[in-house]
Amino acid sequence: MPIFELGYRSWTGTLRPPAARVWAITKTGIALAFRSKILKRIVFMAWMPLLYFAPLFFGIGYVTDPTRDLEKRGFLVGIAQAFLGETISARLVTDPESVRPVAWSMAYHLYYSGFQAFFTMLVAAIVGPPLISQDVRTKAFLLYFSKPITRVEYLLGKSGTLFFYLFMITLFPGLVLYGISIALSPNLVAFTQTAPMIGKIVASSMIIAVPTTFVVLCFSSLTSDGRYALMGWFSLCLIGETTYHLFWRLLKIREPWVPLFSLRETMRIGIERVLNVQGQISVLGVGKDLQRQLESYSSTCPPELAFGYLAGLFLVGLIVLWHRISAPVRI
């Protein structure tokens, strides 16, 4: 009877490329974060707006279908008037397909800057704070950096975790919504008219996810206790939002820098610029209700300033992160 040696054997396999190690860090972070029941519920809730927006896009597709008799579009036109305003709705009679892009842009603007920005704050607050602070507290970085990973790979891996969850509630549902909308559209014209929207969905998601990720990770790297990072993130969001409303609504100060207090409003200005809602509304006419529509989207803060501010947040976050990660023992 042959007797085989059991137990430990030397390993002679081939090591995977660096990208696999980045994914190992990201996947571990994703799996660890997903153990949180609260996170699961919030991610689930973040998909709920689709229940509102999918029928809305179906309605937009329906009322902008030129092959349908306007009389038969009946009550949906009424809903369209409530959402789009009278002037734009009037276009449904003369040139229904021209309304589609602006209606989609308005709907996506509401979706991203209204609903998903709120969920982003919550998801970032749950996933982000422990990502690096936990490694500092448990000294896991000693083991991370004793493995063949670079600081860049570590940073990519950690940010990948937060990107994954933020895209789970911004990019993925946005694309799903787009797919549903195309599927429910009456003809292929809808696709040719709205194809650039895919790029705008990606850009809008990036506007939300990139600064959020790096700011939250920056807070996380500054402490060994995730609760302080959480407090830092909420302080930035809530105090900033409160200050913005104090200046904007109560004190009526409308200087260009005032919206920058609010991260949400700054992102909204950026998303509005990407979706070009104002530009598309403007080409439809100059009715009074259109003026009101335009005012609701406009801001005293130019988009360039908003983008600059968001880029600044990203850079500051990146520099601080890099400094902290480059000297882990010093943390």
Binding site: R9, A24, T138, L142, P328
Partner: protein
């Protein structure tokens, strides 16, 4: 390149505090102990070797390569830190698997290798439990398993025997001996000489950030034996016992402490002293209620070595 570690004027400063001070050394292949009291600079030296810290001055090469900012080197090194660097909400199997993936193993291989490494360190029984529930010994085994998982050439083990019970210590030293026989380079730090002398006879003595001495255990023992060992005894018959010890045993000096009711004996032949003490106590009926040998800890050895001139 035959040396595991080669340093030239290696210095690490933490602000104004010196962690490692102008160290020049060559550690050849094999198993080596890094001995020093707490705060001597062992962990700093190990962190420099594993690329966790950048040298302030000097040159350092590990397996012929510079460790700082050189992740590819760490495919060849396994590091077991002194601290518990865990995600305690994971099981040992999950934790070691994650680190195996970070070492570059594929998804499919990582778990098998992790289980194999954990089996090797005797952790199979508890590897599916959360690390938070582990004893110190279980945690040490888990840390060692993650250092072994990618089959490195060189193992850097920072106080791997710390906190282990005698059985765990024996099992761990058996494992280290087995790894050494396989030809792995091992650098193991400790502040207790007898802990690591069962693993290796070759030592570097670190003190105040400097390499104080190097050589094998016999040389270190001989160096120690040039200086009298201090043994403190407490006895209700202290004066009588002291008189007999001075008369019958190889003693270099004796100090009485009336307040504590104890006395300290200085001897250059501790083995002879212990033999004789047992005989005297049995024959005379004098009682010894407490006996402490200060020289059993490495601090005393270092005090001797630092003050030898």
């Amino acid at each position: 390149m035959d040396a595991l570690v080669s340093a030239r004027n290696l210095t690490k400063l933490y602000g104004l505090v010196i962690g490692v001070n102008d160290v020049t050394l060559d550690i050849p292949k094999g198993v080596h102990g890094l001995l020093g009291p707490n705060g001597a600079g062992k962990s700093t030296l190990m962190k420099l070797i594993t690329g966790q810290l950048v040298p302030t001055e000097g040159e350092l090469q590990v397996l012929g390569e510079r460790p700082w900012n050189n992740p590819s080197l760490f495919r060849r090194i396994g590091f077991c830190p002194e601290q518990d660097a865990f995600y305690s909400f994971l099981s040992a199997l999950e934790f070691v698997t994650v680190l195996a993936r970070m070492s570059g193993l594929s998804w499919s291989q990582a778990q098998g290798r992790a289980a194999s490494a954990l089996e090797r360190v005797g952790a199979t029984e508890f590897m599916n439990r959360k690390i938070a529930t582990y004893s110190k010994g279980m945690r040490q085994r888990t840390k060692l398993a993650q250092a072994l998982v990618h089959d490195p050439e060189l193992l850097i083990l920072d106080e791997p025997l710390s906190g282990l019970d005698p059985v765990g210590r024996r099992e761990m030293t058996d494992l280290l001996n087995a790894l050494a026989k396989e030809g792995k380079g091992i650098l193991v730090s400790s502040h207790v000489l007898h802990e690591v002398q069962v693993v290796t006879k070759e030592f570097l003595l670190i003190y105040a950030g400097r390499v104080l001495a190097s050589g094998n255990v016999h040389e270190i023992r001989a160096l120690m034996n040039r200086h009298p060992h201090r043994i403190t005894l407490r006895s209700p018959d202290g004066r009588h016992l002291a008189q007999q010890l001075v008369r019958d045993l190889p003693i270099a000096g004796i100090e009485l402490d009336e307040e504590k009711g104890s006395f300290s004996v200085l001897t250059r032949d501790p083995a002879g002293f212990y033999d004789g003490l047992g005989r005297i106590v049995l024959e005379s009926g004098l009682r010894v209620t407490e006996m402490v040998s200060e020289d059993d800890n490495l601090d005393a050895v270092f005090r001797y070595l630092v003050a030898r001139d």
